[in-house]
Amino acid sequence: MRLNFRNSLYLTTAGLIAAVLLVFDWIRVSIGLEDPVLNGFHSLFTVVAFALLYAAVRLFRNKKSAKPLEILRKLVAYGFFATALISTWGIFLSQKGEGTDKYVPSNIMQLLATTVFAFAIAFFVIILLTTVSDIIYIKPERKVRRRFELFVGFAILASFLSIFGRSGIMGTLRDIAFGIAAFIAVLHIVSMNWIVFLSRKDKYKSLVHTLVLMALFGYSFASTGPTDAAGGVLNFYSPPMAELAQIVFLFLAIYFSFAFVVTIFHIPTSGVFEKKKRELDSYQNLSKVITNVMDTSEVLNNTVAVVGAVTQANKVWIELRYEGDSPGEEEYKVSATHRTSQYELSAFNFNDVRNSVRKDKRVIIQDTDEFQQFNLRGFPARSLLAVPLIAHDDFIGMLYAAHEMPYAFDDEEISTVSAFADTAAVAIQNSLLFTKSLENERLQHELRIAHEMQLKLLPTSLPGSDKFVTDFLSFPAFEVGGDYIDYSRIDDTKFAFVVGDVSGKGTSAAFYMAYIKGVFQSLSASAKSPLEFMMAANEAVQSTLQKNFFITLIYATLDGATGEVSVVRAGHTPAVLVSPSDADGRRCRLIRPAGAGLGLEQSDDFGRHLCEEKFVLDHDDMLVFYTDGVTDQRNPSGEEFGEERFYGLLKELGGGTPTEVKGGIIRALAEFSQGTDAVDDTTVLVLKWR
């Protein structure tokens, strides 16, 4: 408690009034003055003093909300003090007084004692009233608050009216106000909300407290009536104060009698209430845990544990739905269990339950024979509840709860589990998305590494001499590709060049491409002829390649001294020989010896079909190898770059160096595509004979 200016002002004023009244009383007692008007003024001043006391106490009050039982304990303490005061000091004083039917103090000391007693009782009445308002205002509806204020209003009215005595019209009015206050006190029985929220243990404690309070205030009420001993003392000093004390004691006695009875009635439902509270706590707990956690398995495990705790189910588990490889295919995987195991569940097929849940939102099996309808004969439970996990309209899985008792899931429990499922579903999906984005990031990283690795598989430059120059370009359409370009030196003057294309794109193509590099590097040097190389390559590829994959290669040897070229082709796009011509600048010849793609045919057939084309390069001849990524490049209107355009371009560029040709091709493709992404890897090799 702390004193500030306002409440010390109130208290000082109240004290001054009390001092003035003491002097007045002394005069009154000494000369035996009994004037109703003077007594009325006296009472009025006492009321003002008490009002100031009330204002001061209100300011002292601790506004913190307390638990009902703490308030009850306080009330018992105050009530005990008040009752003790009444039954000792009050009775003691009344016996010392003079007068037969009315108490009158006989000397100044008694008068002082009477004043102090009256103020002490007033203080306790005020304290009790404010404390009981704390308990009434726990979880109040507006009605309750208003009703209590109405009670206080009528109590004050009755006590004010008592200034005018107990007889006549004013007496009747007072009786009416008193009656209404008592009636309102009874009405409070319907709004004892605080009792409902007590745990079973606290309800037993509340029973004891309310019983004690009932006794204390019943006694206080009975001994403060106008004709009672202590009541006479109070009435001498201030009839309105005595009146207010009476009404408040009556109210408290009634209130706690009813509280006692209401508590008794609420004891049987404590179990239900405690369960609800537990559900609510768990629900809050779950929400807190799962909104902060990004680890999917932690979210799943928390969910099954909480549902297990709330429903007392014997087994709880979650299965998540996964999309299969082909559209429409789906797979369910048990992802979290509580008091059961994946092993135990793997013996049963929940397909029928799933189908029902997707149709009817939930499945409730209430007894053993119903399990057969869902093909779950022998499942070790007698009740089963299955609800869907739906997040943002996505069906992501199912939550199951099973119980060994039949009819274990009532409506309330079902709606609780459904609510859990809804919350959990969102959290599960969030964590899955989070994991997926982590995974994506990891994959991107891996792809970057793969991309760098693949770049290392490609040559940094191709060979050249004073007789010939080369250059090349190779762009994968994605991070990793299936195009291959390479060369090797066969002997002092002879070189082998290769350009290839693995069907399909992306990672699997990249692996085959790496494999082909191995084949080329190991075979090209030892092969006696291009034909022999290609036969060996087909042999190597045949055994490793998937059936619906194939590899196309074009392979050429060049004699660096003579310009002799020998080309074999395994299903690949033809080589283009661009030569100067007298008439219209340059002419184009396609080098397209027969040959099937690698992996298409067995060795015998492959060899039988394979042909070799030989020719000698002349001055200013240009030989070009390419993959279909060049000709398949499309523009925004879906038109292909095409062979004709490409060959035309080569004729145009044919006079330049290989590097100039390469630049020209890149420019032409960029101009044509106008930003349309390449769908296939693009590779071009340019060789120019000087």
Partner: protein, 116 residues
């Protein structure tokens, strides 16, 4: 882009598979499914009519290779018929004429089956 469509119909002891539109990596699974179904029904004499097929990619070519061994082991064949020039060029470049019988018309291919 042209949508891809596969139509199948029986003709004598053979089955005609009619392709429409674009056959690439995205639409290839549909054709794979058709072949799987035919083979599971014991249909091994297959004529593929390419008349309405406008484009084929390497993934599309892969489908034919995936089933040819099984078909031939069961004394059947996949015969290809009435290709547009552009589509034929793709098959030709890769050496498919070495492996598959390719006919100008569907009837020609069917006759081949019926004459055996």
């Amino acid at each position: 882009m042209n949508e891809f469509k596969v139509l199948t119909r029986d003709s004598g002891n053979a089955v005609i598979v009619e392709l429409h539109g674009f056959l690439d990596a995205h639409t290839a699974p549909e054709l794979e499914k058709t072949f799987t179904d035919l083979l599971s029904r014991g249909k091994y004499k297959i004529v593929v009519n390419f008349n309405s097929l406008n484009y084929i990619s390497s993934a599309g070519l892969g489908v034919f290779m995936a089933y040819i061994d099984e078909v031939r082991n069961n004394h059947g064949d996949i015969k290809l018929a009435s290709m547009q020039q552009k589509v034929f060029n793709v098959f030709d470049l890769l050496g498919f004429p070495f492996l598959y019988e390719i006919y100008k018309s569907q009837d020609e291919a069917l006759n081949k089956f019926n004459s055996i």
